[in-house]
């Protein structure tokens, strides 16, 4: 029991710690904003008009700000790679946490969806309140033009309303295309809808500019609930005579309740810009960096066909560094301009050789087209390694970090023992051989020719 608890803490503790921290921060900022709008002096009149809908909508907006900024950070894969590789993050626990970046991204995404529902619901109530409780006393607070104005018009004729509708639609498309079945079945739908994020963020930055909700700027001169000066003079004429002390108290109370000036209202500075612009610029910079890096040419040196519909592609790229266990994203514009497909490296560049290789199993349409371009018309050929001098299509390779396989190899004296232990371990853990072969080739200094059957489950090497 003690050992399992310690193991759990070592393996899962970090992840749960971050989750609890994130939940606590979200709960705290929700509660703080809720209280501010419920009982803050500068929102007194607005709260009187809108009620609970104001507090819930603003509190959920703050949580949305936090999550919209956090959701981008786990997707900065190049930065995560640098962190993983540096000496600053050398502990296995920290690396395991960095490997959970996608899970954190999904968590923040789900939080955005949930709080968007809350935010939209609260604002729909606010729209009705703006219409029904039109304020004649403080016209500057109103969004409606007259009492009883159709709430639909309020949504469709204001900047926050139109941008809000657009945001909900984009989020709906992104959310429905992110389900597991769509990702597995039709990754293109997921990929193209998820790239609508840039539209989402641009519209979000415009959504907060509307200035529908205002705060009172002169709370000192006009404390909430004070009596206007003209009404006070009328009261003092009819005020009953008091004793000396009582009169002084009554007068001082009267003075504090008198409004020195009318209430002034002003829209907020769009706080969302402060939350979101930093991570957005960081992520866009990273995408630009990846694009520039992948534009460097990649030369396909050789293509080898193996049994079980596997082709081995050896490539060469300037200053390409990789370690066993990492994978690359391959893009071939001749096949598809926008698709990047991940393949684990089966051999990495070393001091002796600069080429790196991947094994591609032809399963889907992209791999079928790709293999057809590389090795066309091979139905009648022998199943032997075939290397031809030919013009291969241009490809781009993106190093895709963040996928370090935790491979533990039993160190034995003889090579065949290593292979035995690896095979047994693979059978137990259902791990593919690609990263292991890469590691073995690096360790032994010999290029291990993996037969294609490995990748489809037959254990031979």
């Amino acid at each position: 029991m003690g050992l399992s608890l310690r193991s759990w803490i070592a393996n899962e503790g970090g992840k749960h710690c971050i989750l609890i921290t994130w939940l606590s921060v979200s709960a705290w900022i929700f509660w703080r904003t809720f209280i501010l709008y419920c009982s803050g002096a500068e929102y007194h009149y607005l709260h009187k008009m809108l009620g609970l809908g104001l507090c819930i909508s603003r509190a959920s907006a703050t949580v949305l700000n936090l999550n919209c900024s956090l959701v981008l950070l786990p997707m900065c894969r190049s930065i995560l790679t640098v962190l993983r590789g540096t000496r600053q993050v050398s502990s296995k626990k920290a690396r395991r946490l960095l490997d959970k970046s996608k899970t954190f991204h999904v968590t923040c995404g789900v939080a955005i969806c949930v709080f968007s529902v809350v935010h939209v619901g609260a604002h729909l109530v606010n729209v009705v309140s703006f219409s029904v409780r039109y304020s004649d006393e403080f016209p500057a607070l109103n969004v409606a033009h007259y009492r009883g104005q159709d709430p639909h018009l309020l949504i469709l004729t204001t900047v926050p309303g139109i941008t809000g509708v657009l945001l909900v639609l984009v989020l709906f498309l992104m959310f429905t295309a992110s389900s597991h079945s769509v990702r597995v079945g039709n990754y293109e739908i997921f990929w193209y809808t998820h790239n609508l994020f840039i539209l989402f963020y641009v519209v979000l930055l415009m959504h907060v500019v509307g200035g529908a909700l205002k705060y009172q700027t002169n709370v000192d001169a006009h404390p909430p609930g004070c009596i206007p000066a003209n009404q006070t003079r009328a009261h003092s004429d009819t005020w009953p005579n008091q004793e000396v002390d009582g009169e002084l108290v009554a007068e001082s109370r009267e003075m504090s309740l008198v409004c020195k000036e009318d209430a002034h209202f002003q829209p907020h500075f769009p706080q969302t810009w402060l939350w979101v612009l930093g991570p957005l610029c960081l992520y866009c910079g990273e995408r630009l960096y990846r694009y520039i890096r992948c534009n460097a040419s990649v030369t396909i040196v050789s293509v080898v066909r193996h049994p079980c519909d596997v082709i081995e592609v050896r490539m060469l790229k300037n200053s390409f560094k990789a370690r066993p266990g990492q994978y690359v994203l391959l893009n071939c514009p001749s096949v598809s301009s926008f698709e990047n497909h991940a393949f684990t490296l089966t051999s990495c560049p070393t001091e002796n050789k600069e080429t790196f290789g991947i094994h591609v199993r032809v399963v889907g349409d992209w791999t079928a087209c790709f293999s057809e371009l590389l090795l066309p018309d091979l139905e009648h050929s022998e199943i032997l390694p075939m290397t031809n001098q030919r013009r291969y299509p241009n490809c781009a390779v993106l190093p895709a970090p963040g996928c370090m396989w935790m491979v533990r190899l039993a160190v034995h004296q003889r090579k065949f023992s290593i292979m035995k232990s690896v095979c047994v371990w693979l059978a137990a853990s259902e791990l593919r051989l690609s990263p292991v072969s890469c590691m073995l080739s690096l360790m032994s200094g010999v290029v291990i020719n993996c037969r294609g059957c490995i990748l489809c489950g037959c254990a031979e090497s």
Binding site: V120, G121, L124, V127, V128, P151, H152, I155, V165, V168, L169, F172, L173, F175, T176, A177, S179, H180, S181, V182, V184, G185, N186, E188, I189, V335, S336, E339, G364, D365, W366
Partner: protein, 184 residues
């Protein structure tokens, strides 16, 4: 690139839209806002759409992902035959169901989301897709061959090692006949 199955995405959208329609309808009826009758219609339409869209269709190629407990819904939806099989019918149905939702604020979101799902279903129908039920396949009875029932009692009949060693000089003498016939 490749054949996209639009119906899978449309199904996810329609299910989510049905749920949003239902929630908006409940809020509209509970708050007794003006036009709450449209909200009541939203509740009914939302429930209907959720029930219709719950069972996933069989994929053209690849693994099928069933939703939990969808078998009974599959049987019910399958019973309507071409009405539920055809995606043109579904696209039209969703378009018709979503229109009343636009007249009430609480159900506006459900209306728009269901409208988008209707458009995606139309795209799926144009691409020739249709709904196929995911039914458990009856496993073919495994024919157990006779030899498995009776494992061999004795090791294979082998003469001693020196006899088995290949004698190239005397091939005639090296040949032997198995004492027990080997069955296929």
């Amino acid at each position: 690139m490749g054949k996209i199955e639009w119906a899978m995405w449309a199904n996810e959208q329609a299910l989510a839209a049905g749920f949003i329609y239902l929630t908006g309808g409940i809020v509209g009826v509970a708050g007794q806002f003006s036009g709450w009758k449209f909200a009541a219609f939203g509740i009914a339409a939302g429930v209907f759409v959720c029930l219709l869209e719950y069972p996933r269709s069989k994929r053209i190629k690849g693994t099928n992902f069933e939703r939990t407990g969808q078998y009974c819904f599959t049987v019910c939806v399958k019973a309507f035959g071409p009405l539920t099989r055809n995606y043109y019918v579904r696209a039209f149905l969703h378009a018709v169901l979503c229109i009343p939702g636009g007249f009430m604020l609480a159900t506006v979101l459900g209306c728009v989301c269901l409208g988008i799902a209707s458009l995606i279903y139309l795209s799926a129908a144009i691409h020739g897709e249709h709904w196929e039920p995911i039914l458990p396949e009856a496993e073919p009875t495994k024919h157990v061959s006779q030899s498995i029932k009776q494992p061999p009692q004795n090791p294979p009949p082998r003469p001693p090692a020196d006899m088995r060693r290949k004698r190239l000089d005397d091939l005639e003498a090296a040949a032997y006949v198995n004492p027990i016939p080997v069955r296929e």
